[in-house]
Amino acid sequence: MKKFSLVLFSILFTGLCFSQKNYTTKSGQIKFFSNTAIEDVEAINNQVFCSINTITGKVQFAVLIKGFSFENALMQKHFNEEEYLHSDKYPKANFVGQIKNFNPVIFQKNGTYSVTVLGNLTLHGVTKQITVTGTISFQEGKVTIKSKFNVKLVDYKITVPEGISNSIAVAVDCTLQ
């Protein structure tokens, strides 16, 4: 009986392992943008870690703050300084969320699906719950996640530089395999 239970458990566990899949990438892209009266603030990070679980609908993003590149090197220096993102103390930002009303079928049929993700964004040492909308495309075994949302700097205790609006527009674009 004991042997039977063990075999049954092994079969069930193996089945669970094979049916569960994490799509991941290390080369996702996050851009942010804010326009000011003097000069637009725009940065890009092309080394974003992203994963999505096709069974649970859990989504994760992680990014290194120093990995954001600006066209203006002086602006990049200020961005990393203590007054703003303080990247020496808070080197990473991450988001862990769950797709609302998740249906695993979206990872079985080619197509583009609108999704809403509820999760926690940690930035500058502050964690806040946010809701973001976007699309998930499933095409020939590849998953592409796209989303655009605004981040309020004061919510994350980030000093708002003079002339810059309180919220910045963030665009996420990740292709996972």
């Binding site: 092309n46 120093k66 090197a73």
Partner: protein
């Protein structure tokens, strides 16, 4: 008075162009980046990975934001977001040195030993570098 007006006509545009050059143009140039980026001594891929795996905080303080030459064996090379990415082998199976080069270059043969230069941005499963350039192939 006339003289002052004459000199003013010449000086004011020069001052305006000078401010524009220093504040807006110069920070976008490579010259400015090369002058302002701090440098750290050259390391091997194995050494830098070991440092991050032993004590991430100490390694971050030692390497992050600095331009470093790293040599190691190419374990993977691919085009990512229009640029060439190079992954160097370390002694840890789960950790690689991940360079994103400035430009799109032909992919490197796996197993080749190369030296790259780039700015270390920290550790996120791999030790990440951007603004990468080839030093020795």
């Amino acid at each position: 008075m006339k003289k002052l007006f004459k000199y003013g006509l010449i000086l004011i545009p020069i001052i305006i162009i000078g401010i524009w050059f220093i504040v807006f143009y110069l920070p976008k140039t490579e010259v400015y980046k090369n002058f302002t980026v701090k440098k750290a001594p050259p390391v091997t891929a194995v050494e830098i990975a070991k440092d991050f795996l032993n004590d991430e905080t100490a390694a971050f303080a030692k390497y992050s934001g600095k331009q470093i030459e790293v040599s190691g064996e190419v374990i993977n090379s691919q085009i990512e977001n229009g640029k060439t990415a190079v992954y160097l082998k370390t002694d840890d199976d789960g950790t690689q040195i991940y360079f994103l080069l400035k430009d799109s270059l032909p992919l490197f043969n796996l197993g080749t030993t190369i030296t790259l230069k780039g700015i270390c941005t920290g550790y996120l499963g791999d030790v990440q570098f951007n603004e990468g350039e080839i030093i020795k192939l």
